[in-house]
C-alpha cells in the first residue's frame, strides 16, 4: 500500500500547470494539515505502507513544524514498513535548512526537485519563481541534511527553447549528480495560460520533429552518465527508479490524502473534492468508481506499457488484448514473452496511438 499526500499551495501558478493548487492561500496551511490528519482518521488501513509521496503544489512551502506534524501523524496512523521510500517534491528557492531538517527527521529520504531548465529566460517564460543557482543550492542543502536520493525535473519543447539550450540544461543538471531525472515534454492543458496562447497562435514552440530531437538528445546523453530510461519520461541510476511512481504503473493500491487527491484501492478509484474550502470542511469523496474488470485490464496495459520493461499482464488482460498485441508485435511496436509485454522504443514514442487501437 502507498500513501499520496497532496499539498495544494504555490507562491504562484506556472503558465503550463493544470494541477490543483492555489496561490496566495498559504495562511490556511495549518488548517489544511488538520484536515489531512482528519482524513487519515477517516481512512485507516492495516496494510504496510511501502511508499509515501508528498506532491503538489509545493510541499516545500509547508512550514517546517507543519511538515513535521504531518509526517508524525501519518506514521502514527499507518504501518510504515522499515524501508519505506518517502519522497517530497521541492522547489528550488523554497527549500530551507529548517524544512530539510524537519523532512529528514520525519523520514523523508528522497527529494524530487523542480529544476525545469537552466536558462533564466526560459524559467521566467514558463513562470518559475527561481533561477538555476537556487537549484544548485537546493541540491547542496539536501545532501547536507542527509538526503542522498535526489531527483530533478526538467522540461522540454518549451516555447523559445532550442535543442542547444536543452542539451545545456541536461548537462547542467547532470553536473549536480542526481540519482534520478524526470524529463517532461511540455503538455498544453486546457485552462492554462499556455493553452490559451497556443490556441491564439502566440506560443512559438518547437514542432514535433524538434521535440523528438530533444528526446533523442536525452537518450544519447543520459546513459553516458549512468542514468537509464525506465519509463516514458523517467531515467534513473540502476535500482533508483521512483518506487512510488512504479507503484502507480503497476496498479498498486494507494490512498490519496488531500484536496483533489486520487486513490486506488483494489479496483475502486476515488477522487477527493478539488475545492479547497470543501476539502477543509471535510467533504467526502467527490467521485468514486469501481472499475469494470475489462477497464482494470486496460489500465494494466495503459500504465504498465509506460515502463521500458513493460508489464506482466494478468490472465484476463492477456486474453483480452493478446490479438491486438500480436498485431503490434508484427508491426515492430511491441514485444511479448509469455504474458510479459513491452513497447519497443518506437512503440513508446507513439504509445497513445497504440493504446487507442487496443482500447476495448
Amino acid at each position: 500500500m502507498m500513501l499520496y499526500i497532496h499539498i495544494p499551495f504555490c507562491l504562484r501558478k506556472c503558465a503550463y500547470c493544470d494541477f490543483v493548487s492555489f496561490a496566495g492561500r498559504q495562511e490556511e496551511m495549518p488548517r489544511y494539515v488538520d484536515a489531512l490528519i482528519a482524513e487519515m482518521d477517516r481512512r485507516p488501513s492495516a496494510e504496510a505502507v511501502t511508499s509515501v509521496f508528498l506532491g503538489g503544489g509545493t510541499p516545500s512551502l509547508l512550514p517546517a513544524p507543519q511538515l513535521a506534524r504531518l509526517l508524525r501523524a501519518a506514521r502514527q496512523r499507518y504501518d510504515f514498513s522499515p524501508r519505506c521510500e518517502i519522497t517530497a517534491e521541492a522547489n528550488p528557492g523554497a527549500v530551507t535548512p529548517q524544512w530539510l531538517e524537519a523532512a529528514a527527521s520525519g523520514g523523508v529520504n528522497r527529494l524530487s526537485i523542480g529544476v525545469q531548465a537552466c536558462q533564466p529566460e526560459l524559467l521566467r517564460a514558463v513562470g518559475r519563481p527561481h533561477d538555476f543557482a537556487a537549484a544548485q543550492e537546493a541540491f547542496a542543502l539536501a545532501r547536507a541534511a542527509g538526503i542522498e536520493n535526489l531527483s530533478a525535473d526538467l522540461m522540454y519543447a518549451l516555447p523559445g527553447q532550442t535543442l542547444r539550450m536543452w542539451e545545456e540544461s541536461l548537462r547542467a543538471v547532470l553536473a549536480l549528480s542526481p540519482w534520478h531525472l524526470s524529463l517532461y515534454a511540455l503538455t498544453l492543458a486546457p485552462g492554462t495560460p499556455f493553452y490559451d496562447l497556443d490556441a491564439r497562435g502566440l506560443l512559438p514552440r518547437p514542432d514535433e520533429e524538434e521535440e523528438f530531437a530533444m528526446q533523442e538528445a536525452a537518450q544519447r546523453i543520459l546513459p553516458a552518465h549512468g542514468l537509464f530510461r525506465y519509463e516514458v519520461s523517467n531515467y534513473a541510476k540502476p535500482g533508483c527508479a521512483c518506487r512510488h511512481n512504479v507503484g502507480y504503473w503497476t496498479r498498486r493500491s494507494y490512498i490519496g490524502l488531500g484536496c483533489a487527491a486520487h486513490s486506488l484501492v483494489g479496483n475502486v478509484r476515488r477522487a477527493n473534492a478539488s475545492d479547497l474550502d470543501a476539502y477543509l470542511a471535510g467533504a467526502p469523496a467527490a467521485e468514486q468508481e469501481t472499475l469494470a474488470p475489462q477497464d482494470a485490464a486496460f489500465e494494466e496495459l495503459m500504465l504498465g506499457l509506460r515502463m521500458t520493461e513493460g508489464i506482466r499482464l494478468s490472465a484476463r488482460a492477456w486474453s483480452l488484448f493478446s490479438p491486438g498485441i500480436a498485431h503490434f508485435c508484427q508491426r515492430g511496436l511491441m514485444c511479448a514473452r509469455g504474458r510479459r509485454v513491452w513497447l519497443t522504443a518506437r512503440g513508446m514514442d507513439v504509445m497513445n496511438a497504440v493504446l487507442a487501437e487496443l482500447m476495448p
Binding site: 494541477f19 477522487a271 508491426r331
Partner: protein, 600 residues
C-alpha cells in the same frame, strides 16, 4: 362568352435574381388572393432551400381572379417554373402548360444568359412573350437602354413593356392588364376526350401523389377513372381542385383550359410523371400530348452514411425524397473504403447539392459523398456497349475500344473585359470555342462546346471568381463525343481506394492526379506508419506524396491523479479514429473524399 375566353395561363421567366418571385408575390397580392398579412415573402417558393438559394425547384401554380379594365373578371393561372438548367425538362413541361410568358428583365442588369435560354425555350412553345422591366426604382436603372437591348438581342417589341418595381408594387397592374390583353385564351375541345398535361407532381402525406395539370381537352371530375397514357396505369379520381397560394381548393371538376390538380390515391410521384398525359378510361383520347420523355439522371455519385449504422436511415430518407422527386434515382452499392451506400443519380449538380443538403438537414444524416461522375459510353473491343456512371465499373483498358462522354453547349455572358479570363478557363476545361457575340458595347456572349465532366466539379465557382461574379452561365446537353478518357486511381499505402477513383481526360490525368495527391497529403493526419499516396493511371504511377509517420504521440505524465483523465483522452482519440474510414491500415477522414472534388 365561352368560359375559356376568360382564362389566361402564363408563366414568368427571368434570370435568377431579376425579381421573378417578388413579381409573382406582387401579382398575387394585387389580385387579392391573399392579403399582405397572409403572405410571407415569396409564397411560391415553399421549400426553405428554395428561399435560401433564391431558386425554384418544384413548379407551383396559383389561380388569381382579376377584374380587368374591360369590365370582365378573368381567371389568371400563374405557373411558376423551376429556375435552373438541371430542371430544364420540368421547365419545358410547365411552359407547355402556358399560352404566354412574362419576361422579367432587371432594369440595371439587362439580359443575361438564362434570360436568353428561357426566351428561346418559351419561343419553342409558341408562347406570347410580354417583356417587363423590373427594378426601375433602383438608381442604376436604365430602362430605355434595357428596352433597346430586348429589341436588339431578342427581337421583341419592348416599346410597350411595363416598367415596374416588384419590390414597391409600382405599375404592377400594367403587367396584369398586359397578360389579359396579350396572352391568348386557351384553345381546346370541351367535347373531346380528356387530355390533361401533367406539368408537375407533388407528394402529399395525406392525399398521395397529386398531379398538377393543364386540361387541354375535355374535363375531369371526382369519381372518374383515369389512365396515365405513358404507363397505362389507372386510378380513380378522389379530388380535383384549384391552387390558392400555399393551399389547395377542392372543386367538383376541372374543365378545358383550366389549371389545377388531380388527386387519385397515387402512391408516389413516379406514377404521375411530368409530361405524361392523363385521359379518361371511359372515353380515352387517341393520342398523347406531344413532348413526353422520361428524364434520365445526368450526374451520379455515391452517397454513404458517415456512420455505417445509419445505412437504413439513409435508405428511408432517400425513399421519402423519391416520393416527391421522380428524377431522383438510387440503388445500393458497396465500396471497399466506405462500406454500404447508394449510387444516386441526379439531373445535374444543383439537383445533387439540393438532395445532399436535404438529406443532411431534414433527415439529420452525416454523409460522405464520392466525386460526381457523368454517364460515359464505353464500346468494348468485342463490340458490346456499356454505360458507366461509376469509375469502379470501368472495364480493363485493354478491353476498351473507345469511350464517349456527354457534351454540353455552354453560353457565358459577361462584360467584355473578362473575355480573356473566361476563354482561358474554358480552354483549360477542354472547351471548344464556337463563337462570340457582342450583345452590346461592353458585353459579350461566348459560346463553347464543353465536356459535361469538366463543369460538374468547380467550373461555376472558377468562372465566378475569374469574373468577380459578373459572368452568368447556362448550358444544355448536346449529345456524346468520342474522347480519350482514363481512370485515375488513388492508391493509399499501395492499395486502390475505390471511392477516390475518377474518370478524367488523358491530358488532365497528370495535373489532377498531382493535385489530388497534394490535397490528400494535407488532410490525412499522420499515422503510425508512413503512408505513400499515389495517383495512377492504368497501373502507371503519375504522382506521389507521402504522409510522414507520426513522431511522438505519448502522454508525458501519467501519475495517480492523472489516470482517469488520461483514459478519457485516449477514449476521445479512439472516437476520433472511429469517425474515420479504415482502408487497409490507413485511416481516412471524411475530408479526404471532398479533396478529390476540390483539388484542381
Amino acid at each position: 362568352m365561352k368560359k375559356e375566353e376568360l382564362i389566361r395561363n402564363f408563366c414568368i421567366i427571368a434570370h435568377i435574381d431579376h425579381g421573378k418571385s417578388t413579381l409573382a408575390d406582387r401579382l398575387i397580392e394585387k389580385t387579392g388572393v391573399m392579403t399582405l398579412r397572409e403572405m410571407s415573402d415569396q409564397v411560391l417558393d415553399t421549400m426553405d432551400l428554395e428561399r435560401e438559394r433564391g431558386i425554384t425547384i418544384k413548379a407551383q401554380a396559383v389561380r388569381m381572379p382579376y377584374k380587368a379594365q374591360d369590365g370582365n373578371t378573368y381567371v389568371l393561372n400563374l405557373i411558376d417554373t423551376p429556375g435552373h438548367v438541371d430542371f430544364s425538362y420540368e421547365v419545358s413541361r410547365a411552359l407547355a402548360a402556358c399560352d404566354g410568358a412574362v419576361l422579367v428583365v432587371d432594369a440595371s442588369q439587362g439580359i443575361e444568359a438564362q434570360t436568353l435560354a428561357n426566351v428561346y425555350m418559351a419561343l419553342e412553345h409558341d408562347l406570347e412573350i410580354i417583356p417587363v422591366i423590373n427594378k426601375i426604382d433602383l438608381p442604376s436603372a436604365q430602362p430605355d437602354f434595357v428596352k433597346k437591348e430586348i429589341e436588339d438581342v431578342i427581337g421583341l417589341d419592348a416599346s410597350e413593356a411595363p416598367l415596374v418595381s416588384a419590390k414597391t408594387g409600382l405599375n404592377v397592374e400594367d403587367v396584369l392588364e398586359a397578360v389579359v390583353k396579350l396572352v391568348p385564351p386557351p384553345k381546346g375541345e370541351e367535347s373531346a376526350p380528356l387530355r390533361a398535361l401533367i406539368f408537375d407532381s407533388v407528394y402529399d402525406n395525406y392525399k398521395g401523389a397529386l398531379s398538377f395539370v393543364r386540361i387541354v381537352d375535355g374535363k375531369v371530375s371526382v369519381g372518374d377513372r383515369i389512365r396515365m397514357m405513358s404507363s397505362g396505369a389507372e386510378f380513380d379520381v378522389t379530388e380535383v381542385g384549384y391552387f390558392r397560394p400555399g393551399q389547395l381548393l377542392p372543386v367538383g371538376e376541372l374543365t378545358t383550359g383550366e389549371v389545377g390538380y388531380i388527386g387519385a390515391s397515387i402512391k408516389e410521384v413516379a406514377d404521375t410523371r411530368v409530361g405524361d398525359t392523363i385521359t379518361a378510361v371511359a372515353n380515352p383520347a387517341a393520342e398523347m400530348l406531344p413532348g413526353y420523355k422520361q428524364v434520365q439522371p445526368m450526374v451520379f455519385c455515391g452517397i454513404y452514411p458517415a456512420d455505417g449504422s445509419d445505412y437504413e436511415n439513409l435508405r428511408d430518407a432517400l425513399e421519402k425524397l423519391k416520393l416527391n422527386d421522380a428524377s431522383l434515382s438510387f440503388e445500393p452499392e458497396t465500396s471497399v473504403a466506405l462500406g454500404f451506400g447508394f449510387r444516386t443519380g441526379f439531373l445535374g449538380l444543383l439537383h445533387m447539392e439540393v438532395i445532399q443538403e436535404r438529406l443532411e438537414r431534414e433527415f439529420d444524416l452525416d454523409l460522405i459523398t464520392t466525386a460526381p461522375s457523368v454517364v460515359y459510353h464505353v464500346v468494348k473491343t468485342d463490340g458490346t456497349e456499356l454505360s458507366i456512371d461509376n469509375p469502379t465499373n470501368l472495364p480493363d483498358p485493354a478491353d476498351i475500344n473507345y469511350m464517349e462522354e456527354p457534351m454540353v453547349s455552354a453560353q457565358v455572358l459577361a462584360p467584355s473585359d473578362y473575355v480573356g479570363a473566361i476563354m482561358e478557363l474554358c480552354q483549360q476545361k477542354r472547351g471548344v470555342y464556337i463563337d462570340m457575340k457582342y450583345i452590346e458595347a461592353g458585353r459579350v456572349q461566348i459560346h463553347y462546346e464543353m465536356p459535361l465532366n469538366e463543369i460538374i466539379y468547380d467550373f461555376f465557382d472558377a468562372l465566378k471568381s475569374r469574373t468577380r461574379g459578373y459572368a452568368s452561365f447556362d448550358y444544355e446537353l448536346n449529345g456524346y463525343a468520342r474522347s480519350e478518357l482514363v481512370k485515375l486511381d488513388i492508391l493509399l499505402n499501395g492499395e486502390i481506394c475505390d471511392a477516390l477513383s475518377i474518370i478524367v481526360h488523358k491530358e488532365r490525368a497528370y495535373p489532377r492526379g498531382r493535385a489530388i495527391a497534394e490535397k490528400l497529403k494535407e488532410v490525412i493526419p499522420r499515422q503510425l506508419f508512413e503512408i505513400p499516396i499515389q495517383a495512377a493511371v492504368g497501373g502507371k504511377i503519375i504522382a506521389r506524396e507521402t504522409v510522414k509517420a507520426m513522431r511522438k504521440d505519448v502522454l508525458a505524465k501519467c501519475y495517480g491523479g492523472d489516470i482517469t483523465r488520461k483514459k478519457k483522452l485516449l477514449e476521445k482519440q479512439k472516437e476520433g479514429k472511429k469517425r474515420m474510414r479504415t482502408l487497409g491500415s490507413v485511416q481516412l477522414p471524411s475530408e479526404a473524399f471532398i479533396a478529390v472534388l476540390k483539388a484542381d
